[in-house]
Amino acid sequence: MSARETTLATIRKNRPAGDHPLPEIPLFAPLVGDDLVAEFGERLKRMGGRVADVVPGEDPFASVRERLETAKVIASTVPEITGNRDLARVALPRDLADVDVAVVRAVFGVAETGSVLFTQEQLQVNSVAYLAQHLVVLLDPADILDTIQTAYRRPDFAQASYAVLHTGPSATADIEGVLIHGAQGVRSLTVILLPRNSAEQ
């Protein structure tokens, strides 16, 4: 018998006694207030992320302007920022190792945790979200969901080849509990609250 057959047969033989129905999952009341933007920002900051409000009429990228101006290599997947590394022409994921700043738009944000979701469609080359030194994320305030539970009722997870929730930057505290950002992945993550149609304005 193959390993597959043996394992499945053993499982069938050892099926636990009793009835173990799959429970219905109730939709729990959100633990966040009505101001999802404020809640999202607060949670994200506690997880080490940064958040920039956009003042109408002013440069939405003011908070990261300096970072963008000093960057040698910028990879952008959004129309609002023009980068100098075309992700469509990247031969290998590792070729993005020299990216200083990556700019991407999130599918949605989650207020309960301060997370943003990316799928392979947004990232184009997934490695850009990890190999870049800094990550700048555009998020439409209208795209902020209340809870993780709500997030997992969205179809994105079942459809995407790869989907990932980022909550702040790469972090470690494996040495004596000292928190350090930029363990292996990005050193910072900044969310800019910018509506989707802003590029056309």
Binding site: T7, H20, A97, I148, V164, H166, A171, A173, G182, Q184
Partner: protein, 540 residues
Amino acid sequence: MSAQDDLRVQDGASDRDGLIHPEIAKPADESARSQDGRRLDHAEATTKPLSAEPQAARAREPQPRGAKIRGDRPIDQAEAAERFLAAPLHQKAHDERLWDLRKKRDTAAFGIPEWEELRELASQIKAHTLSRLDEYLEQFEAQAKANGVHVHWAADGAAHNRIVHGILKDHGARSLIKSKSMLTEECGFRHYMATTGIEVIETDLGERIQQLDNEEPSHVVVPAVHKTRFDVAAVFAKTMGTDPENDDARYLAESQRMHTRPLILEADAGLTGCNFAIAETGTVVTCTNEGNADLSGNVPKLLIHSIGIEKLIPRIEHLGVFLRLLARSALGSPITQYTSHFRKPRPGTEMHMVLVDNGRSERLGMEEFWTSLKCIRCGACMNTCPVYRRSGGLSYGATYSGPIGLIIDPTFNKRKYSTLPFSSTMNGSCTNVCPVKINIHEQIFAWRKVLAEEHQIPLLKQGMMKAAGQVLSRPAAYRAAIGAADSALRALPRFAVYNPLNTWGKGREMPDVPRQSFHAWYKQNRMGKKNDMGKKDALR
């Protein structure tokens, strides 16, 4: 009113700035701060700056090593614990750090009114999945194949290693980057690969420290938690050529980043473990703080996921339950920095999934122990365990240490791990914190009986069992006794706790005990209120 409040261990630390060992507090603080200047303590970070750095300590205290392994002979956990206790710097830093994680877990759990309901749901989803594991595995396999993934089945650890090696050989791979996986530890994967000439590079910082020091991880979430910064500085100086005098955590972490990055970029293949495998979509979910699973998964052109068959859950929707529990139980954070969902290979790459049994399908048939398969490896039971905190994970001489280790290690090797179920104060704290409601301390007790009946345990401990027998051998009487006294410990014959072998009872007159025992709480709060909950988890 949160029942958990009543169960909070009295650490008596409130008058010592919240620390059990204030002497290891560090005045200066290197931890990252938030945008608005607040000290951050997400991921595995400590709430209070900690360091084993009182000046006297600069005369270095060597790191105590783990249990001595002698083939199949029973592990002497107490002997290794004795050596850990004899290294006060290490012992205190370890105790403090894990206690901090436990307290953060409490705060996070109290913040959610439906916490108990979530635990019950998680427990039921796991029980259901395990009761139809064959069907869910077939569904997962079919979905994964439809997604273009190659699916493999491994009967045991050796088969897992052979399969992964085979995939790597087929692709001519010379190096493999991997993220943390307890399953690959269980399979002895790294040791096996050392004989093949293919280089394996751990990319989680804690795991990398352990790899470079040629030591097993000591904790399922924080693998190098038993090491001080001095230990890490020494390991890095030897293996990466860093400055041996510089024990600054930032310097050490940055050095590792610079050292590992080229290895990540050049790697021919990547491997990740799996926190959850979704049957309906064939998705593998990983939860990490460093993003290293995503580097392993998204940089090389060949990707392998190693999956324990008990990781299955039916639907994506169920992640909405488990993810709310996992990071809060493990770290006190609402979520890990990265929650990654791998479903299909990237264009031009190959994705393989290896489903590993290694004794799990047999464990399913053990009436008293099958629910241990619900474990989501959060480490909460370890952080709360007074024995674990004072003896260190390596003292167990097994892949899984702490309370969860006590109940699953004997399924791998009854003789070798026969003494482990005795490394417990039976205070029930592990059961109280477990997010999937495994009745851990009862299983510990049940193992003691099984092992005693099969004469797997040393005579001294058998004597102890007999003397404690009246109370211990009948769970109902045991529960009544606990309820009558202030704590479990006071109800047990004193020598059952303070036995010469019970080294971890030393150093403190009484180990931590819950103010109210779990069963008293359970009776008071749950019985009668929610009978449906009472039945399944009711204590046999």
